[in-house]
Amino acid sequence: MSGKTLYDKLWESHVVHTEADGSTLLYIDRQLLHEVTSPQAFAGLRAAGRKPWRITANIATADHNVPTLDRAAGISDPVARLQVETLDRNCAEFGIEEFAMNDRRQGIVHVMAPEQGLTLPGMTVVCGDSHTATHGALGTLAFGIGTTEVEHVLATQCLWARKSRSMRVWVDGVLAPGVTAKDLVLAIIGRIGTAGGTGYAIEFAGPAVRALSLEGRMTLCNMAIEAGARSGMVAVDERTIDYVRGRPYAPVGALWDAAVAAWQGLHSDADAVFDAEVRMDAGAIAPQVTWGTSPEMVTDVQGRVPDPARAADATQRKGWEEALAYMGLKPATPIQEIRIDKVFIGSCTNARIEDLRAAAAVVRGQHKAASVREVLVVPGSGPVKAQAEAEGLDRIFLEAGFEWRDPGCSMCLAMNADRLEPGERCAATSNRNFEGRQGAGGRTHLVSPAMAAAAAIAGHFVDVRHWPAS
């Protein structure tokens, strides 16, 4: 009999009950709540006269709708304000701990929870947000759910689920200097496609994954959903344990020792068999830039926008033509000739301290191109912001003509005031280049923080491995 995958171990340790058809009641250790996908869940709970099953398993923060400027003035959009205030009221009524908008621990839910030690290895973690896959970087089973399921977890601390198939993405070799976890995950999506992981839980493994920091692993797992997989995960190692140690909500003393002993087993057995295997060579990966309206529409920075005349079939040709028309790009344009109007450095994918350091390292002593209208730098959380300021990164950005904002989801999905105008082109460190994602008619190119920062300086995409050229 073959050994167990990490996913098998996480799944099996959370099974409460299994039906004859395989439908499984799975126990949820941690639910993260935010203002957009929770109001109807609380309303449902209230309408049925139910109480949360286990209040302390939940933690809330406001992130999607919050302004990134002048917070002391509150939220000017009355509809957004009502949603954020509704979260405050619901948390107060049901006794759920919340890091509200002006709490210094507030931040993007997927940055905040690992940072506070609220995400621990071996947990099941859910949130009404597809990027919950992020938490898999700590050796958890983490996935996004809808609002009806948010209510179900509040009421029962469980979810009905079916076991996914397992996929391992094994990455050999070493990423070149200037090539990051973001480039790696974009290259993986380019290889397997946006539906390549549908129905699978993906484990990222291999020497290049082991070599990533926890922050890099979070970037990698964050975009598992962009490959169609609800969950991405990485086995626990010493780096994981070092990351968690000492965080505010992490266990201490004897509980810590017991936890660490248990976490040592959170990896796939050597003889585990996966339903699908993908192998990548990290050394062959160049900085990636998306050119279309789906994350799989990606190429490397030395490449060109594709020519629909060369598409494999009619469906692909139609898809490429529609994407190029929306993006305002001509076939076969070199990526480095694409000029940009705005830059967004932030999001649950790339707004951790390491991301900001990488961007600042490129920017130091330079100024944004005159043709670039706006560069937003939006830290992922209050503690990230404070750390960046302690390191002087905010000065580097401000001196370069960038804006230094307060934490939140911001222009990743443009629910607040931060957005693209129709036709504007943006280099973004976020996760989705869908039509209208960053503002109606806006055009998004997904890149790493260093690539975004360099594009802000140059006014067009450049290869950070050879930049500046002098």
Partner: protein, 215 residues
Amino acid sequence: MQSFTVVEAVVAPLDRPNVDTDAIIPKQFLKTVERQGLGVHLFAAWRYLEKDGVQVPNPDFVLNQPRFAEAQILLARENFGCGSSREHAPWALADYGFRAIIAPSFADIFYNNCLKNGILPLRLASAVVDHLFHEVRAAPGYRLRIDLPAQEVQTMGDSRYPFEIEASHKHKLVHGLDDIKLTLALGDAIAAYEARRGREAPWLFSAPRSGATRV
């Protein structure tokens, strides 16, 4: 939840792969604290044009064509519903009047969210979906009959296409059952799990330290 047994209705074809939930319901409509009223915003960016500062229906968009006005079945391409977990997407589809979506494949979270809202996400082979796209285009007023208990899609020409669905999903849809009540009937099993897990992994059940040290 509205139950789903047999639905016979006009079919609207949406011929694009990878339709994402941002397209189904753009983010400016996610600020609501209600479940109802989103149908008017369904596919907003494709469905409306801005003319002199006001929104007018885009005559080229499929749902604005009179022959599809009564549609309750959406025919779609692969990976429908990819992207965000927003349940606003199935809420908008249901509020508009769609009862079923037929596609070769769906994104996982969207698929689940449909089931929680009385919408049947129905998978048919690509070749069959292709064939149905041809039929819909060729015949104004084209209808399909979906029989969930029999797990069969029937054309008016009496072609029949069986489909697969998990037994538990089918049971809940056919009877319009909400999960929470069913799950709470297993409350003893949940409590027993917590007691056992609390012994094995006590750090998961220790209350968060109140006033935990701020980073």
